[in-house]
């Protein structure tokens, strides 16, 4: 199974539902280590994306660029900007394509990760959303089958959270909380769990 406009539109619906569902949870997680707006950022971003689904281009590059712009417009929060950056990187590489194979997911996610790293200047391993993406890129690498890819991505975001929970935050507002962050989940990694699970249609 390959990913095309129809698949993307269905994913947007699931993503919006997931953003609504996890709104409070993400705000609370960000509230404990930051300014408590992460649920807002994700929900508002998905609302704006949803408003554009009627004219979602068939060209996947253009479609993802449209999604990126929704995130840029919706707010200036770190997560929104990082999402826009990641989407833009994928958009560039998909320009002109109307379908993409599941086997390419790993490469695309890695592209997003790299662009976001360039933008935010954080290290891999710093307990941020980058580490979730890194885990997803690795876990899906070499997989061809859509179901396998979805399964691998879905467990990778869970694993990433588990693997980093006992480490200390080094980036963003959370950094100031130092050792207190040990044992706590990074809000951005939680948000990526919401996103990947919705994309993979796994719960």
């Amino acid at each position: 199974m390959s990913i095309d406009q129809k698949v993307l539109l269905a994913a947007v619906v699931r993503l919006k539902e997931a953003a609504d569902r996890d709104f409070e949870k993400l705000n609370a997680a960000d509230g404990a280590l930051g300014d408590g707006d992460l649920g807002i950022t994700l929900r508002r971003g998905m609302e704006l994306v949803s408003e554009t689904t009627d004219d979602m281009p068939e060209d996947l590059g253009k479609a993802l660029l449209q999604c990126a712009q929704a995130f840029t417009k919706s707010s200036g929060s770190s997560y929104g900007t990082l999402m826009a950056t990641g989407l833009m990187a994928m958009a560039k590489s998909l320009k002109g394509e109307t379908a993409v194979d599941a086997s390419q997911v790993s490469t695309l996610v890695a592209m997003a990760r790299d662009a976001m790293q360039a933008r935010g200047k954080a290290e891999i391993g710093g307990k941020t959303v980058l580490d979730s993406l890194d885990a997803v890129a690795s876990a899906t690498a070499g997989k061809q089958d859509a179901i396998e890819v979805a399964d691998a991505a879905s467990s990778a975001v869970d694993d990433a959270l588990n693997n980093f929970r006992q480490t200390q935050a080094t980036i963003g507002r959370a950094r100031m909380f130092g050792e207190k962050t040990i044992g706590m989940d990074d809000p951005g990694m939680l948000a990526m769990q919401t996103i990947i699970k919705a994309l993979a249609n796994r719960t």
């Binding site: 300014d35 840029t72 929060s77 900007t81 826009a84 950056t85 933008r119 507002r173």
Partner: protein
């Protein structure tokens, strides 16, 4: 939430609407989302532009300092949230008069990413941009990790000196160098006694007991260095001065300006009480105080507490600091 507002979501737009209504001689709104504040009067062609941006809730920072001898434009975010990169790009566009634009703002993750992105956007339009980040809060990272420090009230000094340099016709590199020199020369520290409430969150940014204070707390309620019993004013001032002078030692013959700034609720009376000790400490270190600033220059809405900023001056910075400027919140000369 003990605040005077309508719908929390309208807090920033209504603030700007009122600001424009009161001061049409200083400000005008610009951009698709009306979230860029520019000078009322277009500046002359060839003047270097200076743009800032950041979250709302800090008046006079950031927006207030748009004015002659200061900034050209400001991108306005929601309360304590970065403006979007599009808004920043609009601010860069309106500020560009053909000589390039300095991005001069506080070191916060979201702002940095967005200003970088905004710069990339306007590069396509041949607008040359430089960046200087304020990272003056000594409580937010050690001096070895200076690049991780947050930007706080020190930016007022950088707005002033860079603004004066630009007004004097210096080119982008020179204005940028002045801003960087000022940013390097500033050290700040805050103490918080009480929180403020972000309208859309609806709950206070932190909790603190009635007899407590927190030294080093950030202007958005970021955790500080030490929470303890509320001390007498002189002890608070001494502890804050200890940290500042440790970070940037002063010696005989040094010239400094100092800003004793209320975070919002703390009244002018108490700033003057603190200033006595600030002055005594600076003079004991052998420094001469030039143009001390005492008042509300960089606030966090109704937060109770103060910040001190020391800006070490050389002759160039001193004369730029004393040059005329004019906005609704600050006038020199």
């Amino acid at each position: 939430m003990k605040k005077i507002l309508n719908a929390p979501v309208d807090y920033v737009d209504e603030t700007l609407e009122g600001l424009m209504a009161v001061h049409p001689e200083y400000y005008r709104l610009y951009g698709e989302t009306n979230r860029v504040v520019a000078r009322a009067k277009e500046t002359a062609k060839g003047k270097v532009g200076i743009v800032t941006g950041g979250g709302s809730g800090h008046l006079p920072v950031f927006t207030g300092y748009v004015g002659e001898g200061l900034l050209d434009a400001c991108a306005v975010g929601d309360v304590f949230a970065s403006p979007s990169s599009e808004q920043m790009a609009d601010a860069l566009r309106v500020a560009d008069r053909g000589a390039g634009v300095l991005r001069l703002y506080g070191n916060y993750g979201g702002d940095v990413m967005n200003f970088d992105m905004a710069g990339e956007l306007v590069e396509f339009e041949d607008i040359r941009c430089t960046s200087v980040l304020l990272a003056d809060d000594v409580a937010s990272a050690s001096i070895d990790e200076r690049e991780k420090r947050r930007g706080v009230a020190g930016m007022v000094y950088a707005f002033k000196t860079a603004g004066a340099a630009a007004e004097a016709g210096q080119d982008l590199d020179a204005v940028t160098a002045v801003a960087q020199k000022t940013a390097d020369a500033c050290r700040s520290i805050g103490v918080a006694l009480g929180p403020c409430t972000v309208p859309q969150a609806g709950t206070p940014t932190f909790e603190i007991a009635d007899d407590e204070m927190e030294i080093g707390m950030g202007i958005h309620g970021e955790p500080g260095m030490r929470r303890g019993k509320l001390l007498p004013a002189d002890d608070i001032a001494n502890e804050m001065m200890d940290r500042l002078l440790e970070d940037q030692p002063l010696s005989s013959g040094d010239k400094v300006s100092v800003l004793v700034n209320s975070l919002g609720a703390t009244p002018a009376e108490e700033l003057y009480i603190l200033y006595r000790t600030v002055k005594a400490r600076l003079e004991a270190a052998g420094a001469t105080i030039v143009m001390p600033l005492v008042g509300r220059y960089a606030c966090s809405m109704e937060m109770a507490g103060v910040s001190f900023t020391i800006c070490k001056l050389d002759d160039e910075l001193e004369s730029l600091l004393k040059a005329p400027c004019d906005c609704a919140f600050w006038r020199v000369g």
